[in-house]
């Protein structure tokens, strides 16, 4: 690798290249991927906002780049985009905190 960094923003546009080592699976993945983001019962804008929230949960810089643009392209506002990120944060925070119940259960089991 000529680049010293694990992440390189230029790699985002090479996403399609993953098919190179496994064309059949690559095609299946991208066919599915493209189908997923088409307007269905959810609008394209709603799907882009969900993708933006998930991108923050999986903390994928490529995804954040792609779905920030994607959300803007689909007409999302800055407010909607930040609300989506807060949903990611709330679920992550909540996921830690809800385990507090487990901690409390165990504590109560152990203490006199």
């Amino acid at each position: 690798m000529s680049n010293k960094s694990y992440y390189n923003s230029d790699d985002l546009r090479k996403f399609g290249d993953i098919s190179e080592f496994s064309p059949e699976l690559g095609k299946k993945f991208f066919d599915y991927y493209n189908e997923v983001f088409k307007e269905g019962e959810l609008t394209e804008r709603e799907k882009a906002l969900i993708a933006l929230a998930v991108s923050h949960t999986v903390q994928c810089p490529y995804c954040i780049d792609a779905y920030t643009s994607g959300s803007l392209e689909k007409g999302a506002t800055e407010g909607q985009m930040m609300e989506a990120v807060h949903i990611a944060a709330a679920i992550r925070g909540g996921a830690s905190l809800v385990h507090g119940v487990q901690m409390m259960n165990k504590t109560k089991e152990l203490l006199m």
């Binding site: 546009r13 307007e39 609008t43 394209e44 804008r45 803007l72 392209e73 689909k74 007409g75 506002t77």
Partner: protein, 351 residues
Amino acid sequence: MTSATLKRRQHLLSYAKKQLDFLNQPKESGEQFTSFESKLNETGLDPLKPTKIDTFQINVGYMCNLTCGHCHVDAGPDRKEIMTRETMQECIDSIKDTDISTVDLTGGAPEMNPDFRWFVEELSKINKKVIVRSNLTIILANPKYNDLPEFFAKHKVEVVCSMPHFTRLRTDSQRGDGVFDKSITALKMLNEVGYGKEGTGLMLHLVHNPSGAFMPGSQESLQKEFKKKLFDAFGIVFNDLYAITNLPISRYLDYLINSGNYENYMQKLIDSYNPEAARNVMCRNTISISWDGYLYDCDFNQMLEMKLKDEKLQHIKNFDLEALEAREILVDQHCYGCTAGSGSSCGGATS
């Protein structure tokens, strides 16, 4: 936007040649962007030829009451280029006995041309469909423009107006403070005389161009969003939404460079090249006429001063439809803007 035009500031990018030079420069890494011509060649479209010319897009002057951040014309209050009635008459004489069915009036703010109403009336008389590209705010800019909705309705003019977004923030960031509210008022005035309403035959289309360095999303989805938001919040109705890609020239190019987005945006356009959109580019069925009567392949080529190759065809005085339909369309790197994604034209997506 209150800033002066690039031309007024004698900005480098106000010179067509400098823009073309810039668009043909390699990236910072030294790598060259793929040339548009080579892409056309791959699609079997090089040289690009017209199909059949059915639209005359006439730019009646670069003067405008706004100075929008994305304007490819570099229009503004300080621009003095205005089409004369004589040139308008030459346009009428050229097309009256042809199959060219549509005259698309653009600018600047076309309504600011002192002979605008005369021109529309004359075009109606020869039964041409007239489209006006309105910035909406002009209707409120001066009492003399307040009756434009009635005037448009009387002549069944199709109104295509700029409305980049259904939020104030996104619209005003591109077009200037207060533009959103004025546009909403103007749209209500157009609705009042029947525009955008079923059964009236008065067509009102909105144009969305992104307020930033990204491409427009799906026109169909955006149209649904716009219709819902504008109706729910303001009771506004309209016919179609045209999603138009910003081309990297003039003030939008200046914005891309200053914001550090130029290379990524250009690359995105190139990566999104769509052969179907290339087959449907509007320069294949449209001729653009400048305020001083010169002919161009499109309004963008007009701004880049890319006059037709054949000198004999360059001016409306020598109008020759058959020869024009046999000409070669001139292309350069900015053309990627019309062939990216779902394609882009003055009528929105092309594929």
